[in-house]
Every structure is written in structure tokens, then in C-alpha cells.
């Protein structure tokens, strides 16, 4: 690229080479939406577990059905919380860089708290912690897209 000196006072043009000083990204595609979907699943399963009523008729069949349903909710909650934690850790350790701490000094605390909440949501059946997890993911969503320089609204699927 041939460029005239920007101050316009000199006649000497120069050749400008655009060189890369980028990182190595295996795919280069990051999006907190993956964590958000998993987090929503955790919250949904938590709500379903809390809302599931004990069978009114006690029988082998009703108990088996109840326990099967509750077990499936718990299994999905466990799986999605682990998936959410993994997605968050990938963002934290691969996408975010030390330079981003300048604009977001709360970055490490936010991720640490979010990862802890994933674990809490596995251990417990807590609507409060499920909501706090979603709030943390929303904060990460906002940090992520501000760094990317784009305005992406926080939208939930559920």
C-alpha cells in the first residue's frame, strides 16, 4: 500500500505493510451464547425439579415414574452445569487476554464466581443460585461483546 504522509506537509510517500501480530486460535470462534444456553438449561431443570409434585397415589408405578422424571431432571442439570462451566473456562482462559483487564478489572472475579455457581447448581437445587449463574453469564456476555466492539443484546431462549 502506497500512502502519502498524513500531515500533508511532506511529499515523501511511504509503503505501508500491514502485518499480523495475532494470537493462535484453533478455530477463532468464541461466543458466550454457548454458556448462556447451558446456563438456561440448568435454570430450567432447577425450576422443574422444584415444581415437580410428589405423586398423590403411592404405587410402584407412580413412584417409578416420579423417580425417573426427577432423575432425568437431575441428570440434565448436572450435565448442562458441567457444560456451562467448560464453556466459561474456555472463554476465560482462551479468549480473554491480560490486556482486557484494563477495561474490565472485574473479569477474573466474574468468571471465578460464575464457575463456582456452576458447581453450586450441580450440588444444590437452588433457584437463587441458578439465577445468579445467569446474571454472571449476562455480565460475561456484556464484557465479551464490548471487547469485540459490537452491541449484541442479551437475549434468552427461555
Amino acid at each position: 500500500m502506497l500512502v502519502l504522509n498524513p500531515n500533508g506537509m511532506e511529499d515523501t510517500p511511504y509503503t505501508l505493510i500491514e502485518a499480523s501480530a495475532h494470537c493462535d486460535g484453533p478455530c477463532g470462534v468464541y461466543d458466550p451464547a454457548s454458556a448462556r444456553v447451558a446456563g438456561e438449561a440448568v435454570q430450567s431443570m432447577t425450576k422443574k425439579m422444584l415444581a415437580l409434585e410428589y405423586p398423590q397415589v403411592f404405587s410402584s408405578q407412580s413412584m417409578a415414574t416420579y423417580m425417573n422424571t426427577m432423575s432425568r431432571y437431575a441428570a440434565i442439570k448436572e450435565e448442562e452445569a458441567q457444560k456451562c462451566k467448560k464453556e466459561l473456562l474456555v472463554l476465560w482462559t482462551d479468549f480473554f487476554k491480560p490486556i482486557h483487564l484494563d477495561a474490565h478489572p472485574e473479569l477474573h472475579d466474574t468468571f471465578w464466581n460464575a464457575a463456582k455457581l456452576c458447581s453450586a447448581c450441580k450440588v444444590e437445587v437452588s433457584a437463587q443460585h441458578a439465577q445468579e449463574l445467569m446474571d454472571a453469564i449476562e455480565a460475561i456476555h456484556n464484557m465479551f461483546w464490548s471487547i469485540k466492539g459490537r452491541e449484541v443484546p442479551w437475549i434468552r431462549a427461555s
Binding site: 502506497l2 500512502v3 515523501t12 510517500p13 511511504y14 509503503t15 505501508l16 505493510i17 500491514e18 502485518a19 499480523s20 501480530a21 495475532h22 494470537c23 493462535d24 482462559t93 482462551d94 487476554k97 491480560p98 490486556i99
Partner: protein, 101 residues
């Protein structure tokens, strides 16, 4: 006479040289890249890509290039693509604020 400038995009040389830093390129037979120099080099796996890195070592004509960013995932350099030939070095980059025009 036309001078050559190099402008970097990306954060692999941060915090020494942030995204958008411009350098003057010193090239020619009289320029011998040395350990510690910031250089413009051809990417060994992408022929149309030019990169700016710092020389960490030179051994038997093979140059080990690294970024300045302390994050190990923040720089694609010789840790990923290995050492490059001295022939791949196109010149030494001197930040424009560090010398007189």
C-alpha cells in the same frame, strides 16, 4: 526514495507494542537481525501473511520468533509454527517514536 512502514494488527506484541503500532522497516544487506530485535517475517505456513515478532534466539540459521504478550495463548509464534529460516526475515522493525524522522 520510498520508505517502508509496518503497522501491526493484533495484541501478540502487547504490552510493548499495542495494536496499530507503526514501525519503520530497516532492510538490506547491511541489516543483520539479532536476538532481541523485533522483525518482520513471512509466516512459514501462510505465504501471503507477514508477521511481526521478536527474535528470541538464532541457532544455525534458524530463528525462534516470539510475541511479547505474556499470555501463552496470545501469540502465534515459533511455539506454534517452529523456527523460521533467516531468509524469512524481511527486516528489522524500529518503532517510529524511538528514532528521529
Amino acid at each position: 526514495m520510498t520508505t517502508v512502514r509496518v503497522r501491526i494488527s493484533g495484541d501478540s506484541m502487547w504490552p510493548t507494542y499495542p495494536d496499530g503500532t507503526e514501525f519503520d522497516l530497516l532492510s538490506g544487506d547491511s541489516i543483520q537481525p539479532a536476538v532481541g530485535d523485533v522483525v518482520l517475517a513471512s509466516h512459514p505456513f501462510h505465504s501471503n501473511l507477514q508477521i511481526v515478532k521478536r527474535i528470541q534466539s538464532i541457532d544455525d540459521g534458524l530463528v525462534f520468533l516470539v510475541g511479547d504478550n505474556p499470555d501463552p495463548t496470545a501469540s502465534e509464534d515459533s511455539h506454534n509454527f517452529g523456527s523460521v529460516s533467516l531468509d524469512a526475515i524481511q527486516g528489522v522493525c524500529v518503532p517510529r517514536e524511538e528514532h528521529d524522522d
